[in-house]
């Protein structure tokens, strides 16, 4: 039986970025991939890793819920992708890990057989690249830079997607719909957003360095594919960057407009971006 798809939004997207969840759902739908919201999910475990060893059970619980509902998992943030795939890797490498997980999951009425396929949105779009090209209706007149969600690519032995040191698949997807992609020095480096929880000034220094370069190179919009990157580079931008704002768009918002959906349908509210998309 064909598996259905759970769209796992995670903590940050669920609480702050409905536009990322909705635009992902709409563009996946346009590719014939219906997605569902899983009931009773919880944090993927990413933020728990430095606090308690039980983070692994949080990840496994979500995956077991998907499995119970005959669903694969499509993730939207790097962190969720990373914890899910690592737990699945650990279970494959060490059967005792899976046994321990199941001892605990039994207490909440679940079991896990590690049959779920976890993919970040980028992986799904890349897997359906040919269909993706057929639904593109227009090329957008934007000068954009890509913010790669680093945890989708590393650790390479586990994630097994794209070039882990120099990821290029997001650029390929964005390049299919925009006029100009601006290469930049920090392109292959992490956004630094996780540091906002422990070393705010370091996070802001990284953000500022990236924005300074992108501004010099004439970037109009930064394209993101992770809630954390978006939070630091867009929502928090004014806290550390005094220049004129460079707005961010989530990748599926950009792709949705190129597929013919309206900026309103993609929940694009930024006035500057809407101006750039006028008459497209």
């Amino acid at each position: 039986m064909t598996k259905k798809n759970a769209l796992f939004a995670g903590c940050l997207v669920t609480s702050r970025f409905p536009e990322y969840e909705l635009s992902s759902k709409l563009i996946l739908g346009a590719l014939g991939l219906k997605t569902h919201t899983l009931s009773e999910v919880m944090c993927c475990g990413q933020v728990l890793q430095g606090i308690i060893p039980n983070w692994i059970y949080a990840a496994a619980y979500n995956l077991a819920l998907a499995e119970q509902n005959n669903m694969n998992v499509i993730t939207l943030c790097g962190g969720c992708t990373n914890t899910f795939k690592r737990v699945q890797f650990m279970c494959r490498e060490n059967p005792e890990t899976l046994e321990n997980i199941n001892l605990l999951l039994a207490k909440v009425g679940l079991e896990f057989h590690n049959t779920v396929k976890t993919q970040h949105l980028l992986e799904v779009l890349h897997e359906h690249y040919d269909e993706f090209l057929t639904v593109i209706k227009k090329r957008l007149p934007l000068k954009v830079a890509v913010m790669n969600p680093c945890q989708v690519f590393r650790p390479a032995a586990v994630m097994k997607f794209d070039d882990s040191e120099h990821p290029r698949i997001m650029e390929k997807l964005v390049g299919a719909v925009t006029a100009v992609i601006i290469p930049y020095a920090l392109q292959d480096h992490c956004c630094g957003a996780s540091l906002t929880m422990s070393n705010l000034e370091a996070a802001y220094q990284i953000g500022r360095t990236r924005l300074d370069e992108l501004k010099r190179k004439g970037t109009e919009v930064i394209i993101t594919a992770c809630g954390n990157c978006h939070l630091l580079l867009d929502n928090n931008q004014s806290a550390y960057y005094t220049g004129r704002k460079i707005p961010c768009l989530f990748l599926p918002q950009l792709l949705g407009v190129a597929m013919g959906m309206t900026p309103g349908e993609m929940m694009i509210n930024d006035f500057g971006i809407r101006s750039l998309l006028n008459n497209v």
């Binding site: 430095g50 308690i52 060893p53 039980n54 680093c150 650790p155 882990s164 996070a203």
Partner: protein
């Protein structure tokens, strides 16, 4: 796990924080210098570049688990125990917007389930 370290410094050289002049947790592991155990953005470059395959990230998290977490982490855990998410999420507040937007409503995981999954049976943490 750490005994096999060659002290080659490749993890340190590849850390983009160090490249930007920000002392990172890698320094703590390799040189035992003063640097924050929490200054890391989880990009995995250090671990992926280690020539002898030391699981630097796992070691970092194990060390972090032994000390007091920064307040934002503690608050995240409290939120998770309450609603399942590390940020406050209340279906009563957001489900009407979700439905209007075309998204399915949320149902939270039962707190008792989350409590079972996250019960920490270790001894209390030491202070950093």
């Amino acid at each position: 796990m750490f005994d096999s370290c060659l002290k080659c410094g490749i993890c340190y050289e590849n850390c983009y924080l160090e490249q930007m002049g920000i002392p990172s947790f890698v320094r703590l592991l390799v040189q035992e210098d003063a640097a924050s155990l929490w200054t890391c953005s989880n990009c995995w470059t250090c671990q992926d570049s280690c020539p002898v395959g030391i699981p630097l990230m796992e070691l970092k998290w194990q060390m972090q688990q032994e000390v007091q977490s920064p307040p934002v982490y503690t608050a995240s855990l409290a939120n998770i125990l309450k609603c399942g998410y590390c940020l406050p999420v209340d279906p009563d507040d957001i489900n009407s917007f979700r439905i209007d937007d075309g998204l399915e409503p949320l149902t939270l995981a039962p707190p008792i389930t989350i409590g079972v999954l996250l019960q920490d049976n270790r001894k209390s943490k030491t202070k950093e």
